[in-house]
């Protein structure tokens, strides 16, 4: 029994080593793929500052792919800077995320300029500045009143968009939302249930474009491409950073929002003032550093790797940081 047992343990150990090697090899492959960053050039490497040791930060996010990835990017970046980072990446809507931030359950999470202005600070969508920096300036005072601080926004924005199959768009001769005039009454629009009553969604299309649709079909936002593919709706509310727009660029058409009703949002990392002060200057500089290489295309690609290739947000974020030279 003894010999047999030892032989078996040895075999098991060998098998484990072979497996481990296999996984390590796979890991190497992934590194080369990278996150599509433009490389950075000079050393962008984030260095761990011993002073940050022992400072604990909890990073949150809302509950969809892009937010998971962003949450991971910020969290891993801050970790590289030496902070002890905890993650709470599935908070639900912005109302819940804001509440968690105000109550100190989390220290920071990524929000969008337009969402912050319209949902938190009662801006009408048509009043949201199209310039990201101006929109960011508008939020700072209001955030300060809540004891929060927002970091400068990313260069790209994501927004709700009215999308449809490219062939339908060609057939009906549609390029912008205004082109829907006179045709919308025969078309079905799909969107989340809340879209009906939101001014940055159906309500805005009705009030500011004067469009009435043949039918509005409320759906789970996870089905927003499915309803187009299955011909269950003619139009669907999509997001500009959607993975599908990256993988199938010729399949779908986004109608231009020529009246600016669907406000664009640049990503805004919002933190509690208290946590930001305690974390010191490395906090802000790390946050600004890790988002430097994020562009619309990179975001779409990262989203597609999670939504379509089913990679983990954690790994996709790490690849992005590595490819950009922020971490090793």
């Amino acid at each position: 029994m003894n010999l047999d047992f030892r032989l078996r343990s040895l075999l098991a150990l060998l098998a484990a080593m072979v497996l481990a090697l296999g996984f390590a090899a796979c890991g190497d492959d992934d590194e080369d793929e990278g996150g599509g960053g433009e490389g950075g050039g000079e050393s962008a490497l984030i260095e761990a500052n011993p002073e940050n040791e022992g400072i604990q930060l909890t990073i949150g996010s809302k509950n969809f792919t892009e937010q998971f990835i962003l949450g991971e990017i910020y969290a891993q970046g801050l970790e590289a800077a030496g902070y002890t980072v905890k993650k709470d990446l599935n908070l639900g809507s912005e109302q819940i995320a804001l509440k968690a931030l105000e109550e100190g359950e989390i220290d920071a999470y990524p929000e969008y300029t337009s969402t912050a202005l319209t949902s938190f600070f009662e801006f009408a969508p048509e009043d949201v500045p199209s310039d990201a920096n101006q929109a960011f300036e508008e939020t700072t005072d209001d955030f300060e009143k809540l004891g929060l601080v927002a970091h400068p926004p990313t260069s790209f924005s994501s927004a709700n968009a009215v999308g449809l199959l490219a062939e339908t768009a060609d057939e009906l001769g549609l390029e912008s939302i205004s082109d829907l005039e006179g045709q919308s009454e025969e078309l079905t629009l799909a969107g989340s249930p809340e879209c009906r009553q939101r001014i940055d969604c159906l309500l805005g299309l009705q009030e500011n474009y004067g469009l009435e649709f043949g039918k509005f079909t409320p759906i789970d936002i996870g089905l927003r491409y499915e309803v187009l593919d299955k011909d269950d709706a003619d139009l669907s509310i999509l997001f500009t950073t959607d993975a599908q727009l990256y993988t199938d660029p010729d399949m779908y058409t986004i109608l231009e929002d020529d009246k600016g009703v669907l406000p664009a949002g640049n990503i805004l990392f919002v933190a509690s003032q208290e946590a930001a002060e305690e974390a010191g200057p490395d906090f802000a500089s790390t946050v600004e550093a890790v988002q430097e290489n994020l562009s619309l295309e990179v975001m779409q690609e990262l989203n597609s790797r999670v939504d379509i290739d089913k990679e983990k947000p954690e790994d996709v974020a790490a690849d992005y940081l590595r490819a950009s030279g922020y971490i090793e």
Binding site: S119, P193, E194, Q197, D220, E226
Partner: protein
């Protein structure tokens, strides 16, 4: 669990939401109030009734047949358990591929949820009908069909109704997710927090709970009414 602070405030806010219209969270439209609630309740009930009707239409005859013949116990039980294991949202997404979004899709999805408890309980109820009564019925010359429908079915009624109650509660509670597949029910209040706010969400939850409770009470009364006198006597004596 302790009640969170402000629970009573939220509760009275939810009650206010049910009776009075108010601006949405963004302030862009009016929401809540009895008018909207009545509309959504109607659709909620229509959908639940359609699903229950479809479920009964399939599960009841099948359960009676299998139970009477004493066959397919494995099938009745396995179908019952498997049906319970399918996540409803997956089923809806799956059905969208075949029948599209909307009322029909949801009716099928919810009927799949209604069938298992009715099927299992019908099968068991019929199987367990008093054997001496069944033999006596055969003895006086009833056909198999008559035995099943006139003797076994009435004796199984209380058990079947228990299954129907379970199914109805499941269906009403699950019809809450219908707004994710094209039909607006009371679940809209729960799913669209950004429009209705926390008080609207709570109001939706209260309304669905009330609807389920009312259904349960109504069906329990029906169950008592449907229990044969003989069975009631038997129970009172034992």
């Amino acid at each position: 669990m302790l009640l969170p602070a402000g629970f009573l405030d939220s509760f009275s806010g939810a009650v206010d939401f049910i009776f009075n219209e108010r601006p949405s969270v963004e302030g862009s439209t009016q929401v809540g109030g009895l008018g909207q609630i009545w509309d959504l309740t109607q659709v909620h009930l229509e959908l639940s009734l359609a699903a229950m009707a479809a479920g009964l239409l399939i599960a009841l005859p099948l359960g009676i047949y299998l139970g009477h013949r004493g066959r397919g116990e494995f099938f009745a039980v396995a179908a019952g358990n498997a049906g319970r294991a399918i996540p409803e949202l997956v089923l809806i997404a799956f059905l969208i591929a075949f029948v599209g979004t909307g009322f029909l899709n949801l009716t099928i999805a919810l009927a799949v949820l209604a069938i298992p408890p009715i099927l299992t309980n019908t099968f068991v109820g019929i199987r367990q009908a008093d054997r001496t009564a069944v033999e006596a019925a055969r003895g006086i010359g009833m056909s198999e069909r008559q035995v099943a429908l006139r003797v076994e079915l009435p004796l199984a009624a209380p058990t079947i109704m228990t299954g129907v109650r379970t199914a109805a509660i499941n269906v009403i509670a699950t019809a809450t997710i219908a707004p994710l597949a094209g039909t607006l029910t009371l679940g809209d209040f729960i799913l669209s927090r950004n429009v209705y706010g926390d008080e609207g969400v709570l109001a939706g939850a209260i309304l669905v709970a009330l609807l389920a409770l009312a259904t349960e009470l109504g069906l329990a009364a029906l169950q008592r009414a449907m229990t044969p006198k003989g069975l009631k006597l038997q129970r009172a004596m034992s």
